[in-house]
């Protein structure tokens, strides 16, 4: 049994007095794509943030290739090879499109499949707007920049937080069209998604969260709608 690329064991997360996660166990194999679904407030974003180092976690509760990385802090987690596409895109407002991409490998310069050229090949629309201020782009284009920015560090694990949020269905499709190319490089992907249909299409396995706990695990092909509904809503 190979060491999982990423694993969480009993992951808990707190915001002050509020507890968002109550002991999450998940496993992601190398090259696997996992989808995390669940209602608002179920803890999906907190889960990603805890892995990415934006939220404090116990050292042993997050393991990267078997090594404990909980509590290391976001900058160090990136350096190890885990990159995040944050919720709401969060592009840097005073940087252009190209500068936003370039900042993606400021903290981790590793040779690999992803560079400015290959990202422009993945998202041709961005090349035309490379010198535009990031805030002038449409939602879909901004999402592409955010994904490209994360890819620039040639991560081993890509965390995507609600990349379909606020986008029209046709735009969501064009964003997700990039997924196969990303998967091709053997990158593990963790997708937090509200759009269940889209998530099920690309994922190898699905976890469902409900009120801070894992309520369902399985392969999309094997799960029934009733199972998912029950796991999602709790009734």
């Amino acid at each position: 049994m190979t060491t999982p690329m990423l694993e969480t064991r009993g992951l808990t997360a707190r915001y002050g007095d509020f507890q968002a996660l109550y002991g999450i166990d998940t496993v992601i194999a190398p090259g696997e794509t996992i989808a995390i679904i669940g209602a608002n407030g179920a803890g999906k974003s907190s889960y990603l943030k805890a892995i990415a180092g934006l939220v404090r976690a116990e050292p042993g509760s997050v393991l990267f290739e078997g090594r404990p990385i909980g509590g290391l802090g976001a900058a160090n987690v990136l350096k190890l090879g885990i990159a995040m596409v944050p919720e709401g895109r969060r592009l840097f407002a005073s940087l252009t499109v190209e500068e936003n991409l370039l900042i993606g490998n400021y903290g981790r310069k590793v040779a690999g499949a992803w560079s400015l050229d290959s990202i422009y090949a993945l998202f041709p629309a961005l090349k035309a707007r490379r010198t535009a201020p990031s805030q002038t782009l449409s939602g879909g284009e901004q999402q592409m920049v955010a994904i490209g920015r994360a890819l620039m560090s040639n991560p081993r694990v890509l965390l995507c937080d609600e990349i379909s949020l606020g986008l029209a269905p046709i735009v969501i499709r064009s964003v997700y069209d990039a997924m196969p190319r990303i998967k091709q490089n053997g990158t593990s992907i963790v997708l937090v998604e509200q759009d269940i249909a889209q998530a099920m299409k690309v994922a190898d396995r699905v976890y469902c969260f409900q009120e801070g706990r894992v309520s369902l695990v399985g392969c999309p092909a094997e799960l029934t709608r009733e199972q998912v509904h029950l796991a999602y809503f709790g009734h």
């Binding site: 900058a75 840097f92 407002a93 940087l95 400021y106």
Partner: protein, 289 residues
């Protein structure tokens, strides 16, 4: 008419000096939102460092300044790394009080080391040299050099900000600290580097301060308020805005002085308030705030 032109030109040149004071502050405030109440005193500290180096080694203040710059770079880095990084956060008050404490320590430390005597940096004949513009107008070489230096410093800083990876990191950290960390940026290191650069700029400002006027350990706070006014008028994150701000204050002061010498400083403050009433975020603010 020509008289007024002369006044305005003097104001623009004065603005260059204020812009030099303000440039370092603009950098720090823009990147880490730090209200550094000790900035004026740090400039005075640099001036005394130049004075000390010049007299110990018997060299020209210009060369002394060149040697002082790396020392101030290191001092700024250390100051941010050891002290100021620990007080930065969401609250406005802790950094305010810490930099106030720093200001008091620097002023009184300098008083102990150098006494309250007025000092001057001597550059020789160039101090009184002037250029004739025709029509009876003349401008001093030093004030002109000050403005030219201010423009040069701002050009170089903009080069740093817009053409280097470090500059991108500065801007990203200023825009969104959380996401900058997600990019692997060590924000504490960025802040320390920014403070170090700001101290180099402060050293240049100190050279011109010391050459153009008498200085003593207690003049820091007065210079500080002009620097802040220039930064605020200019707008958060805009170095050219800071230059514009400095020039506006400078011109307001010289015009005010021409009407009534007692009104010089008041005129500067009133100009600041006027701009700020019309544009609370300054003339050229960054997109986000």
């Amino acid at each position: 008419m020509l008289d007024w032109l002369g006044t305005i030109i003097q104001g623009v040149l004065l603005g260059g000096l204020y812009a030099l004071f303000a440039a370092g502050l603009s950098l720090i405030f823009g990147i880490m939102r730090l209200v550094n109440l000790a900035h004026g005193d740090l400039i005075v500290l640099a001036a005394f460092a130049i004075l000390a180096l010049a007299s110990w080694f018997g060299i020209d203040p210009l060369f002394a300044a060149l040697f002082a710059m790396p020392a101030m770079f290191a001092a700024g880095f250390a100051l941010q790394h050891l002290l100021l990084n620990r007080t930065l956060g969401r609250d406005l008050l802790p950094p305010l009080l810490v930099t106030f404490g720093l200001s008091i320590i620097i002023q009184n430390g300098l008083l102990e080391a150098f006494t309250a005597d007025s000092r001057r940096l001597r550059l020789g004949a160039i101090e009184t040299a002037s250029i004739q513009l025709g029509g009876g107008l003349a401008i001093g070489v030093i004030p002109l050099l000050t403005l030219v230096s201010a423009i040069a410093v701002i050009l170089l800083l903009n080069l740093l900000f817009y053409r280097t990876a470090l500059g991108r990191a500065f801007r990203a950290t200023a825009d969104d600290l959380e996401i900058a960390q997600l990019m692997g940026i060590d924000h504490h290191r960025i802040y320390s580097t920014a403070m170090a650069v700001a101290m180099v700029v402060a050293t240049i400002a100190a050279l011109y301060l010391g050459v153009s006027a008498n200085f003593d350990p207690t003049i820091g706070p007065a210079r500080l308020i002009y620097a802040f006014e220039a930064v605020i008028i200019g707008g958060l994150g805009s170095l050219w805005g800071t230059l514009a701000g400095g020039i506006i204050i400078g011109v307001a002061q010289t015009v005010g002085a021409k009407i009534n010498p007692e009104w010089q400083i008041l005129a500067g403050h009133l100009a600041f308030l006027a701009v700020v009433l019309l544009r609370p975020r300054g003339l050229f603010p960054r997109a986000e705030d």
